[in-house]
């Protein structure tokens, strides 16, 4: 599973230019930029991954509003990211079979 050259270039350019714009824009845009990159990467690879991972990539991460920032609701924003992290972690636990307690 690989990105096409165009997809990789678009994502790489986004990341490089976002590193530069972060020097001038509000620091709270940092998470927003990372999430946008993650959403784009998820969109590129979703058609080429396992059904379980596709479900992950087409789920919670795509529902984070592209313009959401921390200042609007600091606790809610952190909680939403925690939820997202937890969903990814649970997917990894299942994918790599490390839930020893369940065995």
């Amino acid at each position: 599973m690989v990105l096409t050259e165009d997809e990789a270039l678009e994502l790489l350019t986004y990341l490089v230019t976002a590193a530069r714009t972060q020097l001038d824009e509000a620091a709270e845009y940092g998470p927003l930029r990372l999430l946008t990159a993650a959403q784009r990467l998820a969109g590129y690879v979703a058609p080429r991954v396992s059904p379980e991972t596709r479900s992950l990539l087409e789920g919670s991460i795509q529902h984070v509003p592209q313009t959401a920032t921390r200042s609007a609701d600091p606790d809610g924003y952190a909680a939403a990211l925690d939820t997202l992290c937890r969903v990814f972690a649970e997917h990894l636990v299942a994918r790599y079979g490390i839930d020893r307690g369940a065995q």
């Binding site: 270039l9 678009e10 350019t13 986004y14 490089v16 230019t17 976002a18 530069r20 714009t21 001038d24 824009e25 845009y29 930029r33 946008t36 509003p65 592209q66 313009t67 959401a68 920032t69 609007a72 609701d73 809610g76 924003y77």
Partner: protein
């Protein structure tokens, strides 16, 4: 925004409005670069992390820095950027009057935009005004921000010593 093109005639009306925007000393130190071909718009978006929309056209507002310096401005004089704002706001209003969607973008790499558009070194790109036809569905709003009214933003008369300027009156 939809992929429906913005007619050239509408773009020209928007630019004509911008040419009448307030400008310090009527010096007109802003320059406009219009992009309405899909390939260049795609690359412009790639180097503009703040461009979440996919516009059908974009106007890059530049400051002719060398010309400004010739007038005696410093290259970072606030007036130059205020005039970028008045030009942009005038474009947004003109676009709205024409039934178009629009949105300003400032989060882009100036170095990359300059390279993509082959801008002369004396021009500095400062803002991109995205233009197009508004899509039927829009992205989710930015969180539960309280919409501030003019009362939240305004003080009548001289502020007293105990006033909290951040809170408004």
């Amino acid at each position: 925004m939809t992929s429906e093109p913005v007619p050239r005639e509408q773009l020209e009306r928007i630019l004509d409005a911008a040419a009448h925007a307030p400008s310090a000393g009527n010096r007109r130190l802003q320059r406009f670069v219009v992009i309405d071909d899909a390939a260049t718009l795609r690359v412009l978006r790639m180097v503009s992390p703040g461009m979440l929309q996919r516009p059908a056209a974009a106007v890059v507002i530049c400051v002719d820095v060398a010309r400004a310096v010739e007038y005696g401005f410093s290259a970072t004089s606030s007036g130059l950027f205020i005039d970028v704002g008045t030009a942009a706001q005038t474009m947004l209003l003109a676009a709205h009057a024409l039934g178009l969607g629009s949105g300003p973008v400032t989060s882009f790499s100036k170095a990359a935009v300059s390279a993509v558009l082959n801008l002369p070194e004396r021009w500095s790109p400062e803002m991109i005004v995205c233009l197009g036809h508004a899509a039927a569905t829009q992205p989710s709003p930015v969180g539960p921000h309280r919409r501030r009214t003019w009362r939240d933003l305004t003080h009548w008369g001289r502020l007293d010593s105990n006033a909290n300027p951040a809170a408004g009156s």
